[in-house]
């Protein structure tokens, strides 16, 4: 009886893990807020168990700033790295860190945490 129950729960758990982590799920995206006149755009990124949003769309040619706020105590997320631009910035917990983004070229630029476990993406177009 106990064994049957254990097997049943096991199967349900495995199925849930497969669906939850490998199934198709909506990725949180956002567009930057463009300040008219001031010629700049900003977007907030919340760092908590990953990045929210995970995809930020920026307008090409308008100077951009991403504001990272780390709410997460994990050492895994204590840095944010943009490999293309050589940016490797510590994110102190609870503080907002502003990172200037070069929007002169269109394209997709990934960012990641210091251990390359969590990822996000900037799309410039």
């Amino acid at each position: 009886m106990a064994h049957g129950l254990a097997i049943g729960i096991g199967i349900i758990l495995v199925a849930f893990i497969l669906w939850w982590f490998f199934g198709k799920h909506q990725v949180s995206t956002a567009e930057a807020t463009v300040v008219e006149g001031a010629k700049k755009q900003t977007a907030d990124v919340l760092v908590d168990g990953g990045y929210k949003p995970e995809v930020v769309t920026l307008k090409q040619g308008v100077p951009a700033t991403l504001k990272f706020t780390r709410k997460d105590p994990s050492t895994c997320l204590d840095r944010v790295v943009f490999p293309e631009w050589g940016i490797n910035r510590p994110l102190p917990e609870g503080k907002t860190e502003e990172i200037k983004i070069d929007t002169s070229q269109a394209g997709e630029f990934e960012w990641a945490c210091g251990m390359d476990m969590f990822h996000g993406k900037v799309i410039v177009k």
Partner: protein, 640 residues
């Protein structure tokens, strides 16, 4: 709360639990028994382990999982089961949750230290910058902050001071220690007209120089920028771990569930024992070591090479260097000095050179520069009727006598046989020969050659020691090229190549394997881009920092073998790290799952936690040790 505080709290609270574990076989236990264990472990879970739980829950909501997920699930399972066990009078294992937390934090404390250590190199480079400069304004020296220095300012540096920005000396003579930027160990003498590099240290005299580059344009600023990019770049070999990391954690969770099910249902152990195996699997599998393997080695390797004046652009270059079979060189300015020098004088040296220098003083021909440089005695002779004859040489009247320097055809009489044979011999050695005559007499011959740099031969020997074949690509004729190649020990010569065709020669060489091309970065850009690895050489502020995958800051060919060796060492270290990180999991997982229980080999969750901490630690340590790896081709650097 910092990782260190969390670690200390968890150590202090774990110690009584450890004492309890040791006392148990002797029938002893902590006062308060299970209740004490419950309180201590609950405190650890609330203070030290809470951040793991926070992250894994936040990540879970985003459909993500990482190492924190594994730690959180491992510790929470042990803790929650123990609560249940305590309520139903079964044996508890609170200490598993406590010890795993402590060991994981131990790993993180060390890892944080090491990571900061590894990324220091850039910070150190940036700190080299001078803070202020003495600018001469209206004849008065004024001390101003570095940021206010502008191009064109005249800057004065006293002995012992740092040179603020890149510039050109206008007055004074001194020696400058450039080791911190170029890696060159010997101080360099500077006088009017010489370039100076910002952040280097003026040693013996006072210099006044004009600022050429300030702010982000200075060599140091560009080096810092380049090293930063290199350190955070991705090596292609890392792709594997990038892909693995996304599926790794969920797969481990499934493996842990299967482990539990098999032990409990088919091997009929108790619920608690099966659960311990599952928890051990979750804990041992933490992928931190995999994630750290490449970035830390890349950081240390590129940082160390930058200190030696070798700038490696990114991880792709490191991998490409590893496959290089052939190193091709440009000749002029790369193997040779690029400045022709007098190598032989036949006849009375002083008379021949003195007379030639007197005449050539008015000429602008490159060979004239070589003769003037070789003549170390000033002369009081005067020249009248000076004439430069295109393609032949120069003539004039010195001391009332018609005098000429250049081709024998300038002589009115037939050129004497004795001199002709000497001339043929020198020409055969790939030297350019000019004759010097006065009246109807030949006074002597001067042989001029673009000589190899003193370091070229040693550099080629080092490359051969690394098992690479060497090729020289040049626009010179076969004889000249072969003479130079023989002198420095190069295997193969491709001569008579037009500058535009160098890239085609590189393509041809690529048919036999990967090629690295070494050139000056300004004229050789196409060949540098075509080659699998472009190595651009420069001297001081003149380097084309965008050219080539590897940039050598100082003009020393011996840095080529050094750069190749360092790249190989770094790449091999990445491979070694990845191997260790994988092997920990490959060996650890089956043991944790209890596959080897039959032979008495098992891992408790706390041992699994310790093993995991050591795996990250060993990977990061191995990367940091890259700073100390001996290099065959490294020269003794004397810092002062």
């Amino acid at each position: 709360m910092t990782v260190l505080t969390r670690f200390i709290i968890s150590v202090v609270l774990s110690l009584p639990l450890l004492a309890n574990m040791i006392l148990m076989p002797f029938g002893g236990h902590l006062p308060g028994g299970e209740w004490t264990q419950l309180v201590l472990t609950t405190l650890i879970m609330l203070i030290s382990a809470k951040p793991f739980i926070h992250t894994s829950w936040a990540a879970f909501k985003n459909h993500h999982a990482n190492m924190d997920t594994l730690v959180a699930i491992g510790t929470t399972t042990a803790y929650v089961y123990s609560l249940f066990a305590m309520a139903t009078n079964r044996p508890v294992f609170f200490e598993s949750a406590a010890f795993v937390t402590t060991f994981v934090l131990l790993g993180q404390v060390f890892e944080e230290r090491m990571r900061n250590n590894a990324s220091d190199a850039v910070a150190k480079l940036g700190n080299l910058q001078a803070k202020a400069a003495t600018v001469i304004k209206d004849g008065q020296p004024i001390r101003i902050p570095l940021a206010e220095v502008q191009v064109g300012d005249l800057i004065q540096v006293k002995p012992g001071e740092k040179i603020a920005v890149d510039g050109t000396v206008v007055d004074g003579t001194s020696t400058v220690n450039e080791a911190m930027v170029t890696g060159e160990s010997m101080p360099v003498t500077k006088q009017a007209g010489d370039k100076v590099i910002g952040a280097t240290i003026n040693q013996t005299g006072t210099l006044t120089f004009k600022a050429d580059k300030v702010g982000d344009d200075t060599l140091l600023a560009q080096i810092v920028e380049l090293v930063k990019k290199a350190q955070n770049s991705h090596a292609p070999i890392q792709k594997l771990t990038d892909q693995v990391s996304d599926i790794f954690v969920p797969v481990v969770l499934i493996v842990a569930i299967l482990t539990f099910e098999i032990w409990y249902n088919f091997l009929h152990v108790s619920f608690a024992t099966a659960l311990i195996y599952a928890v051990a699997v979750v804990v041992i599998a933490c992928p931190c070591a995999l994630g750290l393997a490449t970035p830390t080695a890349l950081m240390v390797g590129t940082g160390r090479s930058a200190k030696l004046g070798i700038l490696i652009k990114n991880g792709d270059v490191l991998e490409a260097v590893n496959r290089v079979k052939t190193v091709a060189f440009d000749k002029t300015g790369t193997i040779t000095t690029g400045q022709p020098q007098v190598v032989d004088v036949i006849g009375d040296r002083q008379v021949v050179l003195g007379l030639a220098a007197t005449l050539e003083a008015k000429s602008e021909h490159p060979l004239a520069q070589a003769i003037l440089a070789a003549n170390d005695r000033s002369s009081d002779l005067t020249v009248t009727n000076f004439q430069a004859i295109q393609g032949q040489g120069v003539t004039g009247t010195v001391n009332g006598q018609p005098t000429w320097v250049g081709s024998p055809t300038l002589m009115a009489q037939p050129f004497p046989e004795k001199w002709q044979s000497e001339m043929d011999r020198l020409t055969g050695e790939a030297k350019t020969v000019v004759a010097v005559g006065q009246g109807d007499q030949v006074l002597g011959l001067i042989a001029i050659q673009d000589t190899p740099k003193v370091t070229s031969k040693a550099a080629i020997a080092d490359l051969k020691q690394l098992g690479l074949s060497t090729v020289m690509v040049t626009g010179d004729n076969q004889a000249v090229a072969e003479a130079i190649a023989k002198e420095v020990g190069i295997d193969r010569v491709v001569a008579n190549v037009l500058p535009a065709d160098k890239a085609a020669v590189v393509e041809d060489l690529q048919k036999q394997g990967s090629v690295a091309f070494v050139g000056d970065g300004i004229n050789d850009a196409p060949a540098l881009t075509t080659a699998d690895v472009g190595i651009a050489m420069g001297s001081g502020t003149d380097i084309a920092i965008d050219a080539g995958g590897i940039v050598l800051v100082k003009n020393d060919l011996r840095d080529v073998p050094l750069a190749i060796e360092l790249s190989k060492k770094t790449f091999n270290r990445i491979k070694l790290n990845l191997f260790w990180a994988f092997i920990y999991n490959v060996i650890g997982l089956p043991i944790a799952a209890g596959l080897f229980v039959g032979v008495g080999l098992a891992l408790s969750p706390e041992l699994a936690g310790l093993a995991m901490a050591f795996s990250s630690l060993s990977v990061v340590t191995s990367s940091v040790l890259l700073n100390r790896t001996p290099l065959k081709t490294e020269r003794q650097v004397v810092m002062n």
